[in-house]
Amino acid sequence: MNGSPKIRLRGLTKRFNGKTVLDGVDLDVAAGEGMVILGGSGSGKSVTIKCILGLIQPDAGTIEIDGHNVLAMSRREREAINDRIGMLFQNAALFDSLPVWENVCFKLLAQKRINRAKARDKAAEILAQVGLAASVGDLSPAELSGGMQKRVGLARAIAAEPDIIFFDEPTTGLDPIMGAVIDGLIVDVVQRLGATAVSITHDMASARRIGTTAAMIHKGRIIWTGPAANLGETGNPMVDQFARGEREGPIQMELRK
């Protein structure tokens, strides 16, 4: 990795009600990289990116973005960092009280970077980038299918042209074809913006499509980092078991009896 990474995590630790969810996560994400964080349910993937986004305060560790420790920043400085970040939530998290076009241009309108009259045209332009017609802009999020909601969520995430974009389970709940379509859109928009992308998923096909680098988190720790293309043949028995979806292996599902 040349120079300082875009995102650097060191010793990130978080406990909830005495249960350790993150146990000293160390991770570097280079500028322009497509990092995919893999891991089973409850392994700490979502908590990791929520810590980076400032939605959860970690108990210990550091989070650096462009070399600056965001945990030591004032709220105003933190908001300035968040201005450069986009996020696609697992369930899209669209504001159901607003029509699609206002969802897409929400950040631009909130920061008064655009007026409402121009926002409709801007929304139509961004919706076209994710393969949706301008007429979708007038619909309510409740009127959209799951795949369309993901596309609108993606449009909202890229509307302000961020230089870091997070994707939380971008293909969960979608059929395989729609999943591949969303992955294709993600790759396109990330390349076009020249952004750094951090995705969390347990969909291996999706991970290979959208990731250049992958990291596996298990029991709150990063246990492997390497090229996403090598998933399934990494030589790490835990990663290979996870990537192949094998029942037998070093990872044992904790079942409550």
Partner: protein, 261 residues
């Protein structure tokens, strides 16, 4: 002895939990209020919350006020007629409505309608990650969701209570003139002569406080809800119950402040 200690420990835990809760709600309220004077402002959201409280609550508050005034006139008559004091009915109606029943009953009705609506809407936003999404879109959820609702509650409730006061008195007038033998002129003259500015103002101050409490408890319950649909349901119930109890308790406190002897 051990049972006694366990009991004391339990009481201590409950008191501490109560103090934590009161402290957390107070900080939440102060943060929400602080955003009312710090830009950016969201006038569209303020207008929407105002419309929701003032305009859409109008029918239920109006009906409550009219029937309360009617019942009050009937009940006063049945009591006062024993002492030959029927002429005081208009005075009792206007005093009761403006000082107490207008703000309290309007408050309870709005608590059921608006407290529940705020808690359900914000609670659903919480459990579907929409509040987190606001943060990632560089928008402070307290400023966007809570501050406009608090402001709308403080402004809209006194206006509703003005309507409730007028309709409550009209309810009494309706019964007084149609069933109790008052002439319209004598009933209204008696009402206007007896009514004092302080009675109305105290009711409107109460209304503003109740409006703040209703919006606060709705926002707080929704904002802190957890655990999906069940959590949102619990938040909604909690908002209505807490706001209703606080309205009744604060009514006593404010009455003691205004009219205490």
């Amino acid at each position: 002895m051990q049972h006694l200690l366990n009991f004391v420990a339990l009481v201590g835990r409950l008191v501490l939990a109560g103090c934590r809760q009161v402290g957390a709600i107070t900080l939440f309220a102060l943060e929400g209020l602080s955003h009312l004077v710090r830009p950016p402002f969201y006038p569209r959201l303020l207008g929407r919350a105002f419309l929701e409280i003032a305009y859409f609550s109008l029918p239920v508050v109006a009906l409550t006020a009219v029937f309360t005034g009617m019942v009050l006139a009937l009940q006063s008559y049945s009591g006062f007629s024993r002492f030959g004091a029927e002429s005081a009915i208009a005075n009792v109606v206007v005093l009761s409505i403006t000082r107490e029943l207008g703000p309290v009953l309007a408050g309870l009705m709005v608590a059921g309608r608006i407290g529940a609506a705020f808690a359900a809407e914000i609670g659903t936003m919480r459990v579907t990650d929409q509040i987190d999404a606001l943060t990632t879109l560089s928008t402070n959820p307290m400023k966007y969701l809570v501050a406009p609702r608090l402001a709308a509650g403080i402004v809209a409730m006194p206006l509703l209570v003005v309507v409730a006061d007028i309709l409550g008195v009209m309810g009494g007038w309706l019964i007084g003139t149609t069933k109790l033998g008052f002439t319209s002129a004598s009933y209204l003259t008696s009402t206007l002569n007896f009514m004092q500015t302080g009675d109305v103002v105290s009711g409107l101050v109460k209304a503003a406080v109740f409006g703040f409490v209703i919006a606060l408890m709705g926002c707080w319950s929704g904002y802190t809800s957890r655990g999906g649909a069940q959590g949102v349901g619990a938040a909604t119930t909690g908002a209505v119950v807490a706001a209703s109890i606080l309205i009744l308790a604060l009514d006593y406190v404010l009455t003691a402040m205004f009219f205490g002897v």
